[in-house]
Each structure stands twice: as structure tokens, then as C-alpha cells.
């Protein structure tokens, strides 16, 4: 949308509502910006993209403004990308404009929202419109949404629109509805239900359909199929709580839809065959999570079965583009550098996953956490990911906090990173994290991990990049300063490690220095970063990020 029009709408809402004078309006906002200074380092692979070769600088910025008064709310967001590598880590993206605006009004039981809308149905298996800035995912629904309070704690929501595509929108139309509520059976029975049901329909536009027809036209014999404009999805979900138990279940169905299956063979005109073919199939997804927590003990068991549940606004889109749904990841969210090095991206076509998480407080100051996750291919039983994670946290008064543990991991790099002819990556990562409070204001934290990786017998070397050691020291002076120094060292190089002129593998350091300054609700960061290539996951969405070398300045403000 034109910047001027969006600005006028936003100001109009503010000016209109000022006249009511019954309630004091609430103005809020936020600003986030990153400025990257790229320093070419071809040895680690930080090269051959425009930012390293000629642009040398890239930046992103977002400014949110919101205003609420008398049941009205309105918001606007300015987005800026200058030679940014967020959209595609191997390319450069420059543009700016209004990234989002919305106007909402609550009229008794009826809620009206127009503009760029974020929402989801259940856990998101059939619809999730959300923003994830680290990977530049913003698939807001550009359209209109109505909510209606059918009864106390029962709400009906209906929406229609198109998915945001950077500063434009995709042409396919999405519409959907959900009906959610909450029912308590009182304190005596102590059973509560939070059920919901949702529907979504996508109608392809003619340009997209013509693309699909063009693809199918190229198919021979039995590989041909008749595409349809519409696909329908439905989900039913419920959270039941009983005493210390909580049970969530979600089942979703997708009517036959066109999508690309990379495991199917396509026959070319000349008779050759290669992997990757579109076809039309129905899909299902089932997810459940059962939790129990009492006193010192807590356990969560999760299971997920996914079959042909890829759902995009345009079936020809790839990577993270145009995704309408979100399938929750089924592995532990790891935060330490080496324990998070290999993370599994959700497989939306074929996946069977389980996860168990157990927490136990042995003593008041001693906690343990055990996590197990296992992900296999649904149709072939091929192991994709397995993680056994043990962690213990010990506190000594308020001065010391010591965390230690070990992670045992098996990761199918061939599937997740499309790296052929590599064995399952197997790692053992012991780690510790010690935090000491020097006084009321000052604290210091030490963190270290060692990654022992398996051998790639074919390559005659350690798997992937080999063994790593990581060390970090963080010094905090509350409430303003935080200094962090870390280094990730490729102590035993592996198959993919860089080589010198003689072809000998190099043991490289990947240092990082950060200075953060907090002042009220503003946070400033200045970092020097050398980062090895790896999978980066945010909010359950993963992608392979190339190596990074450079300086980064960041600002985060809320007001």
C-alpha cells in the first residue's frame, strides 16, 4: 500500500477517536534495527554474495506504531531492507515501505479487523499467519476478520484475504473460520475443556493455476493429474485438563491438493527420470501432547504424525515462501551453541515424531531435566533425528547457579541439508554453564561445550566439520552493560572443514565479541562475528545459513 494512504488511515483513526474523549488513548510502539558490516572471509565461506563482494553493508529496520482507544485499535509498521541477507542468505534484498497496517473495532460482541492480520487455528496445522523476523517470515493475512462472542468464553472467528508477500500479496485467496471455547465442570469435578474446530479454504488465482497446468502439461502418461483451484482443510482440537493432567490433541485433514514431492520420479520427454514431481493427494496431521505435573515432578509426552501436509498459497513456491500452515517442531529447543548446531526442520510430507520431557526437582536447589525425541520418515521408517538430552541445575544460595549436562544426537544431514552421500551425523556434546553473582549488580557467566562427532568412513575424516569446542565468558553489570566473548574452535577438522593451499584441513577459530547496553526500554548491541555455516531455527522454522563474517550493530526499543 502507498505509504501516504496508510499514513492517512492511521492518522484518521487517531484523530477520529480523539473526539470521543471518553477514554485515554494508549499509544505504543517498537523499533528494531540491524546493521551488518560484511567482512569477506573466503576461507570460512563468507564470500561470493554481493554483500561481501561489493556492497559491504546491509541493514534491516522495523518501526511499529499502535494506538488504542474506545474499542478502536490501529497500527502501522514501516519495514526497511537495504542490501539485506535476511530474505535469502545468499543474495541481497533492498526495499522499503509499509509492512503492516490494521484497524480494529470491538462493537459489543462483534469484533472487526481489517488490514494485515496475525492469527492461527489451533496449533497452526491448517492456518497460521505470523511473523518471524530472523528469517524474514511474515505471512500476515491481508484482508478482513470478524469475531463474534457467541456466549461467554465461546467465540466464532471468520476471515478472508490473501497472504502477504513482502510489500505485495499473493493472488490466491484464503478464507477460513474457527469456533473455540472453554468449558469448566466446576471445582468438584476439576475437568476443563478448551475445544475448537477450524476450516480453511484456498482458491488459486488464474496465474498460479496456469503455472500448475504448465507443469502438468509437461508430464507424461500416469504422471498426469487434474489440478483443482480449491483445497479445503479442517482441524479439530481440544485441551482437556484434569487435576494435574493436561492433554492437548489436534487432528487435521487436507482435501486432495497439488504439491511437489521430492521423492517421486518424473519422466522427461527424452525418457530420462529425475526426482521431484507434482501430484495431487490428500493429507493428514495428528498431534497430541500429554502433560503431568505435581510437586517435584513433571512429564510431557508428545507425538506427531504428518502425511502430505504441505500447504502453500502457491504450490510452486519453495523454501519458507507462501506457507499457510505451521507444524510444531518435535525436538527440544536448544540454546547452547553446540547443542543447537544440528536442528531438524519439520518434514511436512512424511514424518512420525515423538518426544518425552521429564523434569524432577531432587532437592530445593537441584533440578534435573531429561529429554528424548525421535523423528523418522513415516513411509520408510528412515531415522531423521534422535536426541537424548540430560541436564542438571544446581544452585548454591543466590550466588552460584551451575548447569551441566550432555546431549547425544543423531541427525540425518542427507535429508535436512540435502547433502548426498553423508552418513548420519552422530554427536556427543557435554557442556557446563556456571553463573556467579559477584554482588547485587555484577555477575559473571562461563559456558563451555565440546562436540565429539562420528567418523565419515567413506571420506576418511570426521563427519561434517569435525569436532568443536566452544567457550564463552559473559560479564554483566546491571542494569546497563553486558559483555560477551566467545570462540568456537574447530579442534579436529572434518570432511567439510576448509582446506589450505596444500589441501590440508584447517582448524579455524570462529570468535565473537558482543557489547550490549540497556537503557530503560532501549537495547543497543555491537558485535564482531565469525560464524560457521549451519542450520538456524527460529520458532520451529529452520534454514541452512551460510557462514557469516562481519560487524553487527543492533537496536531494540519499545515505547
Amino acid at each position: 500500500m502507498n505509504l501516504r494512504i496508510a499514513y492517512l488511515i492511521f492518522i484518521s483513526v487517531i484523530m477520529t477517536t480523539v473526539g470521543f474523549g471518553q477514554e485515554k488513548g494508549v499509544f505504543s510502539g517498537g523499533f528494531q534495527s540491524n546493521a551488518n558490516f560484511f567482512i569477506r572471509d573466503s576461507l570460512i565461506g563468507a564470500a561470493n554474495i554481493p554483500q561481501y563482494d561489493k556492497q559491504l553493508y546491509g541493514a534491516e529496520a522495523w518501526l511499529n506504531l499502535g494506538y488504542r482507544i474506545n474499542g478502536y485499535s490501529a497500527g502501522i509498521r514501516f519495514d526497511l531492507f537495504n542490501n539485506s541477507n535476511l530474505l535469502d542468505p545468499n543474495s541481497s534484498y533492498t526495499d522499503q515501505g509499509i509492512g503492516r497496517w490494521y484497524i480494529a473495532k470491538q462493537l459489543d460482541k462483534l469484533g472487526i479487523t481489517v488490514g494485515y492480520i496475525y492469527n492461527q487455528i489451533g496449533a497452526g496445522s491448517i492456518f497460521r499467519a505470523y511473523e518471524q523476523r530472523p528469517q524474514l517470515i511474515d505471512n500476515a493475512l491481508v484482508g478482513a476478520q470478524l469475531t463474534y462472542d457467541v456466549a461467554e468464553e465461546w467465540e466464532l472467528t471468520a476471515f478472508t484475504g490473501r497472504q502477504r508477500d513482502l510489500f505485495n500479496s499473493f493472488d490466491s485467496v484464503l478464507k477460513g473460520a474457527k469456533f473455540e471455547g472453554y468449558k469448566s465442570f466446576g471445582d468438584s469435578i476439576r475437568v476443563n475443556f478448551a475445544p475448537g474446530v477450524g476450516f480453511v479454504n484456498r482458491t488459486l488465482d488464474d496465474v498460479t493455476m496456469n503455472k500448475v497446468i504448465g507443469i502438468v502439461q509437461d508430464y507424461l502418461g500416469d504422471e498426469r493429474f487434474e489440478p483443482t483451484y480449491n483445497v479445503y482443510l479442517g482441524s479439530i482440537y481440544n485441551t482437556m485438563t484434569y487435576k494435574n493432567f493436561s492433554w492437548y490433541v489436534e487432528a487435521a485433514y487436507k482435501s486432495p491438493d497439488t504439491f511437489r514431492d521430492p521423492t517421486l520420479l518424473k519422466t522427461e520427454f527424452n525418457g530420462s527420470r529425475s526426482f521431484g514431481r507434482f501430484h495431487r493427494q490428500e493429507g493428514t496431521m495428528f498431534y497430541t501432547s500429554l502433560s503431568y505435573a505435581k510437586n517435584k515432578f513433571g512429564i510431557t509426552v508428545e507425538g506427531k504424525r504428518t502425511e502430505n501436509f504441505n500447504f502453500r498459497v502457491d504450490p510452486t513456491l519453495t523454501r519458507n515462501f507462501g506457507q499457510v500452515n505451521f507444524l510444531p517442531p518435535m525436538n527440544r529447543v536448544n540454546t547452547y551453541r553446540l547443542t543447537a548446531r544440528y536442528s531438524p526442520a519439520t518434514q511436512d510430507l512424511s514424518e512420525l515424531a515423538t518426544q518425552v520431557d521429564i523434569k524432577y526437582r531432587i532437592m530445593k536447589n537441584l533440578n534435573v531435566n531429561l529429554n528424548f525425541s525421535n523423528i523418522t520418515d513415516l513411509s520408510t521408517d528412515l531415522l531423521l533425528y534422535r536426541e537424548i538430552y540430560f541436564e542438571t541445575i544446581y544452585k548454591i544460595k543466590r550466588k552460584w547457579r551451575m548447569t551441566g549436562g550432555v546431549q547425544l544426537l543423531t541427525y540425518n544431514q542427507e535429508i535436512y541439508e540435502v547433502k548426498p552421500d553423508v552418513p548420519l551425523v552422530e554427536t556427543i556434546v557435554p557442556y557446563f554453564d556456571i553463573q556467579y553473582k559477584i554482588d547485587k549488580k555484577k555477575s559473571i557467566r562461563f559456558e563451555s561445550q565440546y562436540m565429539l562427532i562420528g567418523d565419515d568412513e567413506k571420506a576418511g575424516a570426521k563427519q561434517d566439520f569435525g569436532d568443536w569446542v566452544f567457550g564463552l565468558i559473559e560479564y554483566n553489570v546491571a542494569p546497563h552493560w553486558s559483555l560477551v566473548v566467545s570462540d568456537m574452535y574447530n579442534i579436529v577438522p572434518g570432511k567439510s572443514s576448509p582446506v589450505d593451499e596444500n589441501g590440508d584441513k584447517l582448524s579455524l577459530h570462529y570468535p565473537r565479541f558482543d557489547i550490549f547496553y540497556n537503557n530503560k526500554s532501549n537495547r543497543y548491541g555491537l558485535s564482531y562475528i565469525k560464524q560457521v555455516e549451519g542450520i538456524v531455527c527460529t520458532g520451529g522454522i529452520c534454514r541452512l545459513e551460510p557462514a557469516f563474517s562481519g560487524m553487527r550493530f543492533s537496536v531494540n526499543s519499545t515505547f
Binding site: 543474495s91 504448465g214 548426498p420
Partner: protein, 273 residues
């Protein structure tokens, strides 16, 4: 309210029937137009054999109307541990950058057309290439390109004369590009499940006799006024590569404007027939 929900649900379900889309049989356009597919590829790219297979199929399907060139730039193109050759070159690197943006390999640009609704210039969805080629072939031909050449095996000297005849009045930055390609090169290539040690690499860009983005011809030319350019080149010594029997000359004419790099017509001949 319950009634309203019931009616709403019925309406939703009632709209679930649609007439299936008819997919017509593909037809080969009757034309002398020759389309150039520039494929961005690399030996370290597991999906690239699928792209190469697609181009081979298109060349066979539209015999004489499609020319392919495989550009091994720097991304995912470093030699593998069992590679015999390094296919990368400065020219390929320049072209790889020239044809950006693309989101991954393989990617292909057909006649250097920015496709409507696509944020990529080189399209990384192999499934779309066929229809983009057909769309280009269905456009009227606007120029003819003829390559005459001589090759001296004793000196490995190659002389090329290219004649361009526009069939419509042209204006803009009219450019000529000359590429040398080599086929039947056996060397390692990553595939989705393995490294193929004896993969056959075809129509691989070896060098360009013009600048990577072409040499300027003129800014304006009337229909049927011919433009000629001569080039000469000495093939490097045969080191397993640069085998003239496996090499082709590709010439094409393009019109560059601030919003387009469109190729009007391409031609290809073997160095040794």
C-alpha cells in the same frame, strides 16, 4: 446463533464442488525462433542433475529451437574431493552475478526474461522451465542470427563471423554475446543421494569472446538492416578439456534497457561439424 453457525457451515461445505481443470496436450510451436536457457549450476549442487536432465529433455523436445548453456559460477561449484577438473571461471562467476536474483541452484533464466510475478530472475523451480520455454517460443520471432566460423586444428585458431538481422526496428542497447561451450565432459557431480564420479557434463560454459554481458552493437537499427561482427580466439591446449569436437559456439542478440535484458534470438553451431 446456533442456526447461524449451522447455515455458515452448510454454505462452506456447499461450495466444495468444482469442475476439474482440463490440462491440454502440449504442442510444439511451429517457429524458427531459438530460445537460450542459461542454467546456473555447480558440481557441489545435489539438485543440479535434475536441472541438467530437464534441459537435455527440452533440447530434444524442441529440437533446434532450444539452446542450453550451463554456468558453473562460484556458489556450490567448488570441485569435489574426487573431481578431476575445476569448472569455475571468472566469466561464469560474472554471469552468475549478472543473472541474480535467484534463490538456489539449479536456476535457469530463459531468454533473460524477468518473469511476471517472480521475485527471481533465474528461476530455481525446475518444474516451471518447460512452460517458460514454450511461452518464449510462442512469441513472434524478431531477429535472425547466423554464425559462420572457421577452425584451424593445427593452430587451434577459431574465427567467427556473426550476422544479425533484426526483423523489426530495434532501439536500446543492442548487444551481441558469443559463448563457447563444451559437452561430454566426464567428472564428479553431486546428486541427491550420492556423488556420481562419472557424470556427463554438457553444454558447459568455457568462455565468452565478448564481455560477459555482451558487446554493444548499436542503439538503433531498422528492420532487415544486417549487423556483422567478427571474433577470433585460440583454443587453449587440450588438457582433457577444450576438445574442439565437443565444443559449440553460441551467439545471441539482446536488447538491454533499464527494465529488460531480453534475448531476441540465439544460434548455435559445433566447432567441428
Amino acid at each position: 446463533m446456533t442456526r447461524l453457525i449451522f447455515i455458515f457451515s452448510l454454505l462452506f461445505l456447499a461450495s466444495c464442488t468444482e469442475v476439474p481443470v482440463n490440462v491440454p496436450e502440449p504442442t510444439a510451436p511451429d517457429t524458427e525462433k531459438v530460445v537460450l536457457i542459461e542454467e546456473i549450476t555447480g558440481v557441489d549442487c545435489p539438485n543440479c542433475p535434475a536441472g541438467a536432465a530437464k534441459i537435455a529433455s527440452l533440447i530434444e523436445q524442441f529440437d533446434g529451437n532450444v539452446i542450453g548453456v550451463s554456468i558453473h559460477g562460484s556458489f556450490l561449484a567448488s570441485p569435489l574431493s574426487n573431481s578431476q577438473y575445476d569448472f569455475r571461471s571468472e566469466t561464469a562467476d560474472d554471469l552468475e552475478a549478472h543473472l541474480k536474483p535467484w534463490f538456489g541452484k539449479p536456476a535457469a533464466v530463459i531468454n533473460r526474461i524477468q518473469q511476471e510475478g517472480q521475485s527471481e530472475f533465474a528461476i530455481s523451480s525446475v518444474d516451471l522451465w518447460s512452460q517458460l520455454v514454450v511461452a518464449e517460443l510462442e512469441k513472434p520471432q524478431t531477429a535472425a542470427v547466423v554464425i559462420n566460423h572457421e577452425y584451424d586444428p593445427s593452430t587451434r585458431d577459431l574465427t567467427i563471423d556473426v550476422e544479425i538481422e533484426p526483423w523489426i526496428d530495434l532501439s536500446g542497447d543492442i548487444r551481441i554475446s558469443i559463448m563457447l561451450t563444451e559437452s561430454h565432459v566426464i567428472d564428479a557431480q553431486k546428486d541427491q543421494s550420492e556423488i556420481i564420479p562419472d557424470y556427463e557434463h554438457n553444454h558447459m560454459l568455457k568462455t565468452m569472446l565478448t564481455a560477459f554481458d555482451g558487446d554493444g552493437l548499436t542503439s538503433e537499427v531498422l528492420a532487415f538492416n544486417k549487423l556483422n561482427r567478427n571474433y577470433s580466439y585460440t583454443l587453449p591446449e587440450d588438457d582433457g578439456l577444450w576438445i574442439p569436437e565437443n565444443m559449440d559456439i553460441i551467439a545471441f542478440v539482446s536488447v538491454v534497457t533499464p527494465t529488460s535484458k531480453e534475448i531476441l534470438q540465439a544460434a548455435q553451431v559445433h566447432i567441428i561439424e
